[in-house]
Amino acid sequence: MAKDNIFAGLEIGTSKVCVVVAEARHDGTVKVLGIGTVPSRGIRKGEIVDFETAKRCVHDAIVDAEEKSDVDISEVYLGITGGHIRSFNNRGVVLLEDDREEIEEHDLKEVCKNACDVSLPEQNTILHTIVQRYYVDGRDGVLNPVGLFGKQLEADYHIVYGIGNRIKNAIRCVKELDLETTDVVINSFATAQAILDKNQRQLGAIVIDIGGGTTDYVVYVGGAVRQSGVLGVGGDHITNDISIGLKIPTARAERLKIEEGNVNLGTTRPDETIVLKDETGFAGREVEREVLNQIIHARLREILEVVRRQIEADQKSLDLVGAGVFITGGCSQIRGLESLAMEVFSMPVQIAHALPIAGVTSAFENPQYATALGLVRYAQFMHMDRPAPRSIFGRLKRFFFA
């Protein structure tokens, strides 16, 4: 990639592998040049379980994106997810030496290092640190401390960690295709970049991405990420439930979910049935619509309730969310999800997709691309802004390529 301001975001998802190539303009907007997408195989619950197959899918997706955008991709921003990912908040402190009064860039790296100096469970490494806020000499509200006078620099970080080896699989996959991983980003965070505008982040918002293999969520309060998490449950579970419950093959269940899926209970006439056509086109079996809806409803309700419980574990969060809940991802398209979510969370809910971007128009309207588009937005943000997170790559190098 010759130009500095063309970025590629790669999301290796459970139902599809998606590559978005976009150009970041100087006026702050992003223009999508092309999107390559390929149905995913070898990936379960967001993690690679069959390396060769997954690699082939990624390769195909990259090629597809390159053709559509007419750009040679050499480095990507990689989105990661997985049920093993956990997160917590921590504060770091750095005291300037006596002879210094001005805060410099390397102090930001120091304070981040200090915040990350925690003992993690075995095999776990820190994957992503997201700065929440800075304090200079105890004073809050500092946006960029570089250049300010002060003696003590503190910073709150939202630290995401997970099992290192699982992430290494994805990075190696990319490497073996002769691509560089510029940065590794947690999917939930990336999605939020695409979905929320500044105002919504400031008011407080919850973004839930219900994908094929995982449900990723992030909670913003006062403009900063307060909580995030990943559940190893997604659309595939709904399909599985339908397949087991109605005793139909998975592929049929998947089609049924997409075409007829509805979360609303009690809206069907009793005995209203859906006729499943068999291979010859003739009417095969009949299934009761209400039963299908109940299966889907039970699963989606559970997913939302688990997310809610996990968010509530940090007591105040839910009260501080002003803009409500935004649901995206492939499963957000299931009819009736909005009202179910409103019931579970007791706050306004929107089924969301990425905010409008220039370029391929339909791209941003498809909630399945939200994460990959978010990666590109993140790339743009990183490129424009210089503070602490730049150092993450250095940290990653240490952890993964040692």
């Binding site: 379960r44 619950k45 379980v49 049920g83 559940l231 190893g232 449950v233 595939d236 579970h237 599985n240 439930d241 397949s243 087991i244 419950g245 109605l246 005793k247 998975t250 209970l265 009690g266 009793p270 005995d271 049935t273 079996r285 009949e286 299934v287 009761e288 209400e290 039963v291 109940q294 299966i295 039970a298 699963r299 309700r301 559970e302 688990v306 419980r309």
Partner: protein, 441 residues
Amino acid sequence: MIESKAMVQLNRQYERSYSLEEPITIKVVGVGGAGSNALDRVMLDGIDAVEMVAINTDAQSLAASVATQKVQLGRSLTRGLGTGGDPELGLAAAQEAVEEIRSVLRGGNVIFICTGLGGGTGSGAGPLITQLAKENNALVLVFAAMPFSFEGRRRCQQAATSLAQLRSVADAVVCFENDRMAELALPRMGIHEAFAAADLTISQSIRSIANLLQHPGLLHIGFDDVCAVLRNGDARALFGYGEAEGENRAHEALTRALKSPLMNRGELLADAYHAVVHICGGTSVTLGEVQIVMEELNRHINEQTQIFMGIGINSKMGGKLSVSVLSSLGDGSVRAVQPPPALHAIPYQTLPAPVPDTGPDPARATVLPDRARIAAGPVPVSVAGEGDHGTTGPFQPPPKRAEVMQAEPASRGRFDKGEPTIIDGQNLDIPTFLRKNPENR
């Protein structure tokens, strides 16, 4: 042309009062508070020649009852107070009074037991009293009221457990769900009217069955016919009663009967194996009206269903025409009449969540008030010392309907290989609808 597979016994002496060789003794028993209320209603509406028995732990309620015979449970255990909603206490109190209960039930050929489930006396003592009633080979028909779902999980569970036990002992159980009370009364009506309407429904059903048995009409339905209808399958009974007058009374009366909350809107009638239809009216009943009723009814019924039709003439009805429909669900396999099991054979225990490998129907496990299925569904009952009933397990609808979900033991489907997702101690790979039971909601 009326198609009926019943034998037509025309009784030519209908004007005269007809004394049967062996008069059938009918007893109506109210168990617990709700049961006593139903009993009082039956008395109020008027019924001929039945014996009324009130059985309760609460002495005050017992004293206020209009029943001629009363039994107080747990004289020394609860001492005239109620059970406080504890079914185990209810059972123990009943066990204390076993001989009294026996003596008061003796001699009954047909015993109606009315009770409200969910509390202590009805749920706890009900099954035992039913068992005692069966001892003399009487026909025992239980009318059970199920609590409102807003009364809470605990009461609903207690009610479900008792219902299952009642079903295993009684010949038939007609279940009235309080949640459906809204269908009887307009929301604006006073709540006492709503409850009164519920009592009225139960009273109507008791009275019409009693009527059908006691007053042989133009076309007679015998005691043995009713037994044949009720003593089969899994003892779930449906009852509908409708009354109307005026020009279109035949059609209207049948419609009302089918809409009755105890009839589940006529849906399940299609699966019934037997049905008893009793048309009663004043001397103005015409053959045409009978035809209308039967033809319309036939539309709701499966071809295989065996219909017993009865016609009664009662001049006290005046211009009214009433239609009663009584049927039971099940596959028609005859239940062996059980020798009464040992007295301690029905211990009360709150059952744990349905075990997957006995195949409870998960769709019915979630409580949906306007669904035709009764909330508890087939729940395994542990009754020590009792052999195989001959019941055929979970109710199987006839093949023409959509296939019902069956639970598979803890299957993870495509997630069978691979690391399970465990959150809060639950394996989320197992389908949610399998793991959900009335406990979690």
